[in-house]
Amino acid sequence: MGYDPENPMADRITDIGPPHYAKFYPKVIADNKGKWLYHEITQPGVLMHKAESGDECWTVRVGAARLISIELIREMCDIADAHCEGKLRFTTRNNVEFMVDSKDKVQPLMDDLASRGNKFPVGGTGAGVTNIVHTQGWVHCHTPATDASGVVKAVMDELFDYFTSMTLPAQVRIALACCLNMCGAVHASDIAILGIHRKPPMIDNNRITGVCELPLAVASCPLGAVKPAKAEVNGEEIKTVKVNADRCMFCGNCYTMCPAMPLADPEGDGIAILVGGKVSNAKSAPKFSKLVIPFLPNTPPRWPETVAACKGILEAYAKDAQKYERIGEWAERIGWEKFFEKCDIPFTIKSIDDYRLAYDTWRTTTQFKYTSHTATYTG
């Protein structure tokens, strides 16, 4: 018998944590854990890991929307049952991995996957574009400045060939966050698609009393733009807050703290593109993504401007960068002035930092390259 609302605490079970991962290992993994020698990517989406024992683990990586139904999960289970001793895993970027213990089991698995329409694209390995890590957007969150799943679908459709191939100078990691909270490592992605607000919060005086602790709302603003205030609500004076719009940079933190300060808006909201971030410590240290396109409009259902921006950057990079060079490493080698030129992205004042550590980004040397931007001085 299940949960009994009458006495909810009866034989309640808590704090048992997740199941032990080892229960879910395919045999070849269980047998060879910690004894892997090397790996090979035999074709896009297919990895072979060789163990000291001589065993091989063949992994087929499949793209997924992340926003998926239990129906689809069940279909994944059918595949795993048919080919993978009923085991599978998900990657840190929301791809699915089907593992088999010998090469000859790969093709049947791939055929099965292929037979299911476009549900299970194989790829996402090596020097290509893998799945976009993303967040909730309009499907579930209350603070988004754009959608997540819709934008991701549109971008991945356009970049699909890069998912199923390994033709780029290095791996390219794209991420989307639907607001500045940046759920996900958007701030350190080769290409970051970021939802931004551009209108200061409204104050809902009818609502603020009760739902909102005013001191917290005031404290929430990193720039002190939220100040205590008074207002009249049907006849009587109430305590509320006011926003100094000129000091607002639309981070949305006040709304997070106070439901009576909504700032989302169809025209105000949209997407900023940041590039050149990386997480790995490979070759160069991790880098933050840099803001190169301050705003693109929200244009559902397919966000053509955002899709074009991502593709443009990716193609300029593919054309110009050296082998192993991440987008950020490329931009730093050629210089950011060249980045804007080669990507044909107009440079705007919005890309010049004026936040806390801004000074460190100013160019304090006479070293620069002449580009289209300096033509007015040299022309």
């Binding site: 299940g2 808590t14 990517i41 819709g150 909201d269 070759k283 082998k323």
Partner: protein, 426 residues
């Protein structure tokens, strides 16, 4: 059949990438409330704005996290999503599953929720997307009783730890990331389920500096594998790479026209510390100069392996930009052994050292990285009782503004102005 017209969303059914719209439609045939997911999302596409209300405190008895409350702001039109709470189910380390386990979970979610999920959330949880408040307790009961599984974190508590796949399938993993992740998750169930911190706190474990779980960018406490001895070189394999008998990078660049592998151009010249060279056909590495950046191993996995004396570096304080700008985690412990043998007690010691201090001085909604920023790295290192080492910084300070302590200065700070004036006329 469809309950709402979704002309905009229908546009997302075409194209090579899997369509979440098609998927939801399929689910809707079995779980009609999914039509309302589509309906409300279509409205958002039309209005270009979210239609979810702000927050909503819901949960299960005794837990302060694990559920994110969500209500529609147009419930009349879309009653199926009037309540649409998220349940965060703690994933198993590195996200391996048996179909049996997954099918059971699907069954539970069919019973209690919308049938839609995220596999997985950015932190790592299994995200079960959308259920009514009444369904939360029954679901939790079944999850714990039938499946023996539990919720993950949300709120100002320890968030669900996550790891890369580590030694389970990676030759580079320098410690058992999965076991460390699992052990600490079990060890800190109370901290995960009952908010006691100034703000959220996240653990992530990557087996090597490639950092496949993005620990350095996303976790307050990042454990990243490394080694302290020399890179293991298989000179025979080196020759094979040079001869072109082995594909470089494990084939990661197979699709490009990069020409033949050139060990000088692709490995030696790209080593950031210039600590590699060829002696005849032997590859030499001056390991004392190596910063373990992984590049050479990444390019020649069959010839080069991490040293045999393995452990991890601990970096602290990563976070997203709200409020002071994004932070990467800062190297605090250069090398530490990470092993199940001592039940990770040395790692636990570091963790609790940080927590004790942060819980005392951290302000409300202040991430540990922000607290570090506020008090300064020198103070943080001092309170942690750690020896300051040059490895803590990229470079020494360039300003001369040192806060000297009175006890460091001969004679202390108390001085008599009159005595001074006696020697120095005003």
């Amino acid at each position: 059949m469809a309950k709402h017209d979704t002309p905009l969303l229908d546009e997302l059914e075409s194209g090579p990438w899997p369509s979440f719209v098609t998927d939801i439609k399929r689910q809707a045939e079995k779980k009609p409330e999914c039509w309302d997911i589509l309906g409300q999302l279509e409205l958002s596409f039309k209005d270009r704005i979210t239609h979810w209300k702000h927050g909503g405190i819901v949960g299960v008895f005794g837990y302060g996290g694990g559920i994110v409350g969500r209500y529609s702001d147009v419930p009349a039109q879309f009653p199926g999503v009037e309540h649409f709470h998220t349940v965060r189910v703690n994933q198993p380390s590195s996200k391996y599953y048996s179909t049996e386990n997954l099918r059971h979970l699907c069954e539970l979610w069919e019973r209690h929720g919308s049938g839609m999920t995220n596999m997985h959330g950015s932190t790592g949880d299994i995200i079960l997307l959308g259920c009514r408040t009444e369904a939360l307790e029954p679901f939790f009961w079944d999850l714990t009783h039938e499946m023996g599984q539990d919720l993950g974190g949300s709120g100002s508590n320890l968030r669900t730890p996550a790891c890369c796949l580590g030694q389970s399938r990676c030759e580079w993993s320098c410690f058992d990331a999965e076991e460390a992740c699992h052990h600490l998750t079990m060890h800190y169930q109370d901290e995960i389920h009952r908010p006691a911190f100034p703000y959220k706190f996240k653990f992530k474990f990557s087996g090597c500096p490639n950092d496949c779980v993005a620990a350095l960018a996303r976790s307050d406490f990042a454990v990243i594998g490394t080694w302290k001895d020399n890179i293991r070189i298989d000179q025979a394999a080196v020759k094979d790479y040079v001869a072109g008998n082995i594909v470089s990078g494990g084939g990661a660049h197979a699709g490009g026209n990069w020409g033949d592998f050139n060990i000088k151009k692709e490995v030696i010249d790209l080593c950031p510390t210039n600590c590699m060279w060829m002696e005849g056909d032997e590859l030499k590495i001056d390991d004392a100069e190596c910063t373990r950046c992984m590049h050479c191993l990444n390019v020649m996995p069959r010839a080069l392996r991490p040293g045999a004396q393995q452990g991890a570096s601990i970096c602290v304080g990563a976070k997203a930009p709200i409020l002071d700008g994004a932070q990467f985690a800062t190297l605090i412990i250069p090398f530490i052994e990470v092993s199940a043998e001592n039940e990770f007690e040395n790692v636990i010691e570091v963790i609790e050292n940080i927590w004790d201090w942060w819980m005392e001085v951290g302000k409300n909604r202040e991430r540990v990285g922000e607290t570090m920023m506020r008090v300064g790295l020198p103070t943080f290192i001092k309170v942690m009782g750690i020896e300051p080492i040059p490895q803590h910084v990229k470079e020494p300070r360039s300003n001369p503004y040192v806060f000297w302590q009175e006890e460091e200065v001969e004679g202390g700070w108390d001085r008599d102005i009159d005595e001074f004036r006696a020697r120095h006329a005003a």
